[in-house]
Amino acid sequence: MDKRTNIDQLIEQFKSLPGGLMPLLHAVKHDVGYIPDDSVEQIAKGFNLSRAEVHGVISFYHDFNTSPTGQHCVQICRAEACQSMGSRQIEAHAKKSLGIEYGETTKDGKVTLQPVYCLGNCACSPSIRIDDDIHARVSAASFDQLMAELRSPATTHAGGKK
């Protein structure tokens, strides 16, 4: 099934749900991996909104990326509790060791690095999130190990294997 038909089906599913645009965008992101720019018009039509309104919602929220990410999203918590446990160093280490800035993807297409503000794991900081798995008390060494697992050619499943 192509991307467009898929999105059409999702629009059909969510358009009569009260406040259905947010659940729709989450569903598109879940299925396609991002919110394609060329789906804005399609979504606007389905929800009887202007393209500007749909674009406005997409651009407001950090979660709704409009271009593909790597195979895994690695989020580093930048909030205060993690800072008190050295997350600024983890952040610097991550950027340096992966050779990318926030919002960028490693050359092998495996890892996209993103900032996040609190994962609710603040008693065991610093924390990172790999896809849907959260990791506590992360050090530079454990970060490297997690990245090696993600980036090894054999790894095909979702990240965060403990």
């Binding site: 205060e80 509790a81 503000y117 609190c118 999130r129 959260i134």
Partner: protein
């Protein structure tokens, strides 16, 4: 000898490897032919002990922690060789009877009394521990009588603003409308807070029960839990809990044969901190940009989709269930002054023993941080404590004897907020923290009002100039002026309170801001 093993499945325990502990335990049990099952419980909130393994044996709940997979064989050996009917096990990770661990035993748990006891999704377990008793009571009462109980209890909103819950409910009850809503604010974005998450992951039916009671009280048949997307574990658990509660007749049409309906749905946020502000949250729930609304109209009168809406925090709604179960007087008997009941303190950051600590209002910050936290994780001296999330003030040691009470904190220009305490040791750079407060506001501002949208960006620049000693005196005046503009000119607490951490860092930790000495005049 039959044993039941409890291995938590909340975010923190999972983040520390509890899944692999459970796997190892399962294969060890099989290999040894030991009779015994594994229950994936919620956490007790003693996160410094996670993963905490509990063993139910001879009527006791014995704890071991923090455990690793590789500890399973030796723990099973030690259980085997223990003297029967004693609570003593010879193992380095043995903690004794879990309820007797001082960290837990010294708490006054009303909202979190079930957390970690059993499988969070088991309705029978919830009911065995007095679950849905409050809802059963509520069904026999008129809406006004339920609202009166909440008013009598003195319960104030636990999200941070501390507005009396009963008054909010009264407004919604009194507003005429065919359609009303109950919205749970589960957008727990403050750093250093995780009590909402723990309740949703360890005792989700309590939230569901509180919301159903709120629905009966004000005449609302639809509820939404607005959950932040950073909580994937809570998302999964809540959805399953709603499904089970609906099957069991506690949600949906004609709940508990009361003649009233209550439908409940989880909606995910999308990474915007501002959506924890109630009007921004409502906009987001409506499928829009999370732009803050001007008040009035109050959400209680014109809330979600323009209808009368109760917006309450997870812990507020959780407390509702216990108030209806035990009576408003029991709840009111805890606390001090106008802060009644209990506060779920969340001890976080650079602290040795972090976790959720539920206590009656009135205990001092120092008693929590030193008595429960036992100092920093790094072992270095504590230098600053940030209370109440990213909009809360940084407190120097001279203020640590302030009792945890909304009014006492307001008096020192600080706030309790949602109860998060973040501890920093003496390596912290307070100028960098002040700069971060402004930077965070710049990233997360909804952009509706100028003081917040532009002020935060200018704030970062001014702090940078001060630290670089560039036209220092004038820039300090400018920063104070900017803080005034943000504090008094912003539409909501985001811009209005970002100056709190900035001003307190400057006032109490001026030596970190470069220059020879703080400006004197």
């Amino acid at each position: 000898m039959s044993m039941t093993f409890f291995i938590p499945q909340d975010t923190t325990a999972l983040a520390l490897g509890s899944d692999s502990v459970a796997l190892t335990m399962a294969s060890e049990l099989k290999e040894r032919g030991v009779e015994g099952g594994i229950i994936r419980n919620g956490s007790r909130g003693m996160f410094w002990l996670e993963p905490l393994l509990e063993v139910e044996i001879d009527g006791s709940r014995l704890g071991f922690g923090p455990v690793k997979s590789s500890d399973m064989p030796s723990i099973l050996d030690s259980l085997n060789s223990r003297t029967k009917n004693t609570k003593s096990v010879n193992h380095p990770l043995f903690l004794g009877e879990v309820n007797e661990i001082d960290y837990l035993a010294r708490q006054q748990r009303l909202t979190f009394n079930r957390a970690g006891v059993g499988d969070p999704l088991c309705i029978e377990n919830y009911q065995r521990l007095s679950g849905f008793v409050g809802l059963t009571h509520a069904i026999k009462l008129k809406g006004q009588e339920i609202v009166d109980q909440i008013k009598d209890s003195g319960l104030r909103g636990r999200g941070g603003a501390a507005f009396p819950a009963g008054i909010k409910w009264q407004t919604v009850l009194d507003t005429v409308g065919e359609q009303k809503y109950i919205v749970c604010n589960a957008d727990e974005g403050d750093s250093g807070t995780f009590a909402d998450r723990l309740l949703m992951e360890a005792d989700p039916y309590q939230l569901i029960e509180g919301m159903a009671i709120a629905g009966l009280a004000v005449g609302a048949n639809q509820g939404y839990i607005y959950l932040r997307s950073e909580y994937p574990v809570a998302h999964k658990i809540l959805n399953q809990a709603i499904e089970h509660a609906t099957e069991a007749g506690f949600l949906g049409e004609n709940i508990c044969s009361s003649g009233s309906d209550f439908f409940l749905e989880v909606r995910l946020g999308a990474g915007a901190y501002i959506c924890g502000e109630e009007t921004s949250l409502l906009e987001s729930l409506e499928g829009k940009r999370g732009m803050v609304r001007a008040k009035p109209p109050l959400p209680a009168i014109e809330g979600l989709f323009g209808k009368p809406t109760v917006v309450n925090n997870v812990l507020t709604l959780g407390a509702v269930a216990s108030i209806l179960e035990q009576g408003s007087k029991t709840y009111k008997d805890f606390g001090m002054g106008r802060s009644r009941g209990t506060l779920a303190v969340q001890l976080a950051g650079n602290v040795k023993r972090g976790g959720v600590i539920e206590l009656a209002f009135g205990v001092t910050l120092r008693e929590v941080v030193e008595g429960f936290g036992c100092g920093t994780y790094s072992g270095r001296p504590i230098r600053a404590i940030q209370m109440g999330g990213p909009l809360g003030a940084f407190l120097p040691e001279s203020q640590w004897d302030t009792p945890l009470d909304y009014e006492s904190f307001a008096a020192i220009k600080a706030m309790i907020g949602h109860g998060g305490i973040v501890v920093f040791d003496d390596t912290v750079d307070m100028a960098a923290q002040a700069r971060f407060a402004m930077e965070f506001c710049a990233v997360e501002s909804c952009g509706k009002c100028t003081p917040c949208r532009i002020g935060a960006t200018r704030g970062v620049e001014v702090i940078d100039r001060i630290v670089q000693n560039e036209d220092r005196d004038n820039n300090l005046i400018l920063l104070t002026d900017l803080c005034d503009t943000m504090e008094f000119g912003s539409l909501c607490a985001m811009g209005g309170m970002t100056p709190f951490p900035v001003r307190s860092a400057l006032a109490y930790f001026a030596e970190d801001f470069g220059g020879e000495s703080p400006r004197e005049n």
